[in-house]
């Protein structure tokens, strides 16, 4: 009798823990997915890894910290209003960063060697990291919690599954953004131009489409998604430092590769998977080595399925 009860308790706790990790993993994964889309879009259209993308996300998180602090000092206490303002400000300024990065570091190198834009991109990443470190300080920036509270979904003896409002916010914003994004890429004329440039930039240019402008807009769109991710992470964790872009960048890129680079639904799927793996690994195996787990996935995907889950095999034409 006693044994049976104990077993039931154990399984209940196990399930609760797994559910909690599922929630945490999906939240984290949504953020990775948003960043990964920026990688995958840029890779699709100009065929390079934009190393500075993770740092764009970091810049956005810093803008969010400044904006939240500014609003608090102005006495704006309404949470939805503050969130909306910060999102708009962050998207506005971060997309200018995305545009400027492309314009200064990548556009002059179009048609150059394969290596040149990659080195320029890593130079840009180093530049952004150190610029933020110098202008905003190297120390961790904590902000007071913006979205507090949450639901208790399921309580088992000794363990409660908690869904914070901030997690719910991340999931809702991500879903809404994905819907808007799919519409923009799939239905609008910009989306058609963007896809056309991915397939054949020369032919697209011959048809009278401004390829440079489309590429610039792609960078801005990628930066917009990264900006939203940056704001959401700031709200979720409440701390920001100049190094967050580096690790998030590697993970988001892994997500993009896992989903199939060039494929936008793939990037989101990859992001969610990476988030789940990380959350479960941290909970059940070892929190110190969660980055190692992500990285091993990258290596394994490259070895066994380089085109990713939803990607097409890459064919290089001469």
């Amino acid at each position: 009798m006693n044994v049976v009860k104990n077993k039931k308790w154990e399984s209940g706790k196990c399930m609760a823990l797994a559910l909690q990790q599922l929630i945490n993993g999906l939240t984290l994964g949504a953020v990775y997915g948003l960043i990964a889309i920026g990688y995958t879009m840029v890779y699709g259209i100009i065929g390079m890894i934009n190393f500075a993308h993770g740092d764009i996300y970091m810049v956005s998180a810093f803008i969010a910290v400044s904006a939240f602090t500014l609003l608090a000092s102005l006495g704006i206490t309404s949470v939805p209003l503050a969130l909306l303002t910060v999102l708009l400000l962050s998207v506005l300024f971060t997309s200018v960063y995305g545009w400027a990065v492309e314009r200064t570091a990548y556009r002059p190198l179009r048609g150059s060697t394969r290596l040149a834009p990659l080195i320029s991109a890593i130079g840009m990443s180093i530049f952004l990291q150190n610029m933020v470190q110098l202008t905003q300080g190297a120390r961790v920036k904590p902000i007071p919690p913006v979205v507090v509270g949450g639901f208790d979904l399921y309580a088992s003896e000794g363990f409660t599954v908690h869904l914070a409002y901030s997690q719910l916010l991340i999931v809702i914003v991500t879903v809404a953004l994905m819907a808007a994004f799919s519409y923009v890429i799939g239905k609008t004329s910009f989306g058609r131009q963007q896809r056309a440039c991915e397939q054949d930039p020369t032919m697209t240019a011959l048809l009278g489409i401004n390829v440079d402008r489309t590429i610039s807009l792609t960078f801005m769109l990628g930066a917009t998604l990264a900006a939203v991710a940056g704001v959401l992470v700031t709200v979720y964790y409440g701390v920001v430092d100049f190094y967050i872009g580096f690790v998030a960048g590697i993970k988001a890129f892994t997500a993009a590769v896992l989903g199939g680079i060039g494929s936008m639904p793939g990037a989101m799927l990859g992001g969610l998977l990476i988030g789940l793996v990380e959350a479960f690994w941290a909970a059940y195996l070892s929190p110190e080595y969660k980055d190692v787990a992500t990285f091993s996935i990258l290596i394994l995907v490259l070895m066994f399925r380089p085109s990713g889950l939803l990607g097409r095999p890459e064919v290089e034409k001469v």
Binding site: M48, I49, F51, V59, F62, I63, V65, S66, T69, L70, S73, F93, V96, Y97, W99, A100, T104, L109, S112, T113, R114, L115, A116, P117, L118, I119, S120, I122, G123, M124, I126, F127, Q129, N130, M131, V132, L134, T135, Q136, G137, P142, I143, F246, V247, I250, F253, T254, V257, E288, Y289, D291, V292, F295, L298, I299, L302, P306, E314, E316, V318
Partner: protein, 435 residues
């Protein structure tokens, strides 16, 4: 072809230029507001917004003025280049050959200078010590140069192999009592093995994947070194790593065992060891240089450069592109590992802190700034990059910012690097000016 371009550029009026500069200044303003104009400072546990409008105004003004001047200069240079292109003669080829001869001469001079340096500064510990640091970076740079400069692969985690070499020696010597000279090749091979494991899955694909895989690998090695305390000593690192000996003679104060000083009947001095270490790394560097220069003339070396220029053409010619790239990558990893062994032996203490991404970035900056593929360029770049922070500590703060900027500018200005040998020996006159 060039004619109409010149006229348009030359015809740009001051108004046009000001308009252009104004647009750039506006973008600078947007970029500057969140980063330069606003910042948050910690005041008693909570953040407060601080504004820096005067600095922002200065920044925007500087961008405006800078854009005006740069635009003007660029137009002027463009005109001049077009004029020069028109008067292009065949003397160009002779000049390249002469330049190459001069590079060899400068190289020999540098080598002789390096040989004599400890004799000239035998009483100045600091100079020899700094020169040793420069040579470590030269060695790392030459190792990475094989990967980036010759094979055209981007390796963003070179420091990982440096760390593998350093830890391999530290563990072999402190746990198993191996000597420096025995551990040196073994640690190099271990680093090469890691290169194989990392390179094989990613090099079968496009070169870009290698960049992110190496970036991740560099980070992972550091995470493992910090967390696996039983193995690597964790954040505390490994201490009292034995120093290299001179054919079994240690550099120690006089004791019962024969030491270097007592064997040669010299008075003990700590400078002996520093000078000895300097010559060890000099020998390692020279060996690396000779090895790489020779390899470049072998089929595999030519294949590296061919793959860098056109992978598809190489495949069509029946070259196994994956193996060619892998050989370059593994060789680079091995050289990085050897440099790591020397680093561990010289410091006597290593910790994960010495192997951060910044270190990888510095090595990459050395290769890129020095001119990819140029051995002498790496030496010059290491000299500049190591000596500049020594001159002023203020500079150290801005060092990485400048490296990042320089990497972008050099890629835009000369994608082959400043002192590159990338230019083909023979070329069509019309191609001048376009890389």
């Amino acid at each position: 072809m060039g004619e109409p371009v010149v006229q348009v550029l030359g015809g740009a009026t001051l108004a046009d230029r000001s308009k252009d500069a104004l647009a750039v200044a506006f973008v600078a303003l947007l970029l500057g507001i969140p980063m330069v104009g606003l910042t948050t400072v910690d005041q008693g546990g909570t953040l407060q917004v601080a504004t820096r409008w005067p600095i922002l105004a200065a920044f925007v003004l500087a961008v405006f003025a800078g854009r005006l001047v740069l635009r003007y200069l660029a137009d002027r240079l463009g005109e001049r280049r077009v004029r020069r292109e028109r008067s292009l003669t065949s003397s160009d080829q002779r000049r390249t050959a002469g330049g190459r001869r001069m590079i060899v001469r400068v190289g020999w001079l540098a080598f002789i200078g390096a040989l004599l340096l400890p004799i000239a500064f035998s009483d100045n510990r600091y100079v020899v010590d700094t020169a040793t640091t420069v040579l470590i970076y030269v060695m790392l740079g030459w190792g990475l140069n094989v990967v980036v400069g010759l094979a055209g692969l981007l390796d963003l985690g070179h420091v990982a192999f440096y760390a593998v070499g350093a830890y391999a020696y530290a563990l072999l010597s402190t746990q198993f009592g191996w000597g420096f000279w025995v551990a040196l090749p073994v640690a190099g091979l271990i680093a090469a093995g890691f290169g194989l494991i990392i390179g094989w899955p990613s090099l079968r694909l496009r070169g870009d994947y290698l960049a992110i895989v190496t970036l991740g690998f560099g980070e992972i090695i550091r995470v493992i070194l910090i967390n696996w305390t039983e193995f690597s000593g964790g954040p505390n690192g490994i201490t009292s790593i034995p120093r290299p000996t001179f054919f079994g003679l240690p550099f120690k104060p006089p004791s019962d065992e024969p030491t270097f000083a007592s064997f040669f009947g010299l008075e003990f001095s700590p400078v002996h060891r520093i000078v000895f270490l300097y010559y060890v790394i000099l020998v390692l560097c020279v060996l690396t240089n000779v090895f790489v220069t020779r390899l470049r003339r072998l089929p595999v070396g030519r294949a590296w450069e061919a793959v860098r220029e056109d992978e598809i053409a190489c495949k069509a010619l029946g070259i196994n592109v994956t193996n060619v790239k892998l050989s370059a990558f593994v060789l680079g990893a091995m050289l990085g590992g050897v440099a790591g062994v020397f680093f561990a032996a010289r410091q006597g203490f290593i910790s994960p802190e010495s192997f951060t991404f910044n270190e990888s970035a510095i090595i990459l900056a050395i290769v890129v700034l020095g001119g990819m593929g140029s051995q002498l360029g790496v030496v010059l770049a290491s000299l500049v990059l190591v000596l500049l922070p020594e001159l002023g500590r203020d500079f150290a703060e801005y060092r990485m910012l400048l490296f990042g900027t320089a990497m972008i500018l050099i890629m835009i200005w000369k994608p082959g690097g400043i002192l590159s040998k990338r230019e083909p020996t023979l070329r069509h006159a019309r191609e001048e000016g376009r890389p």
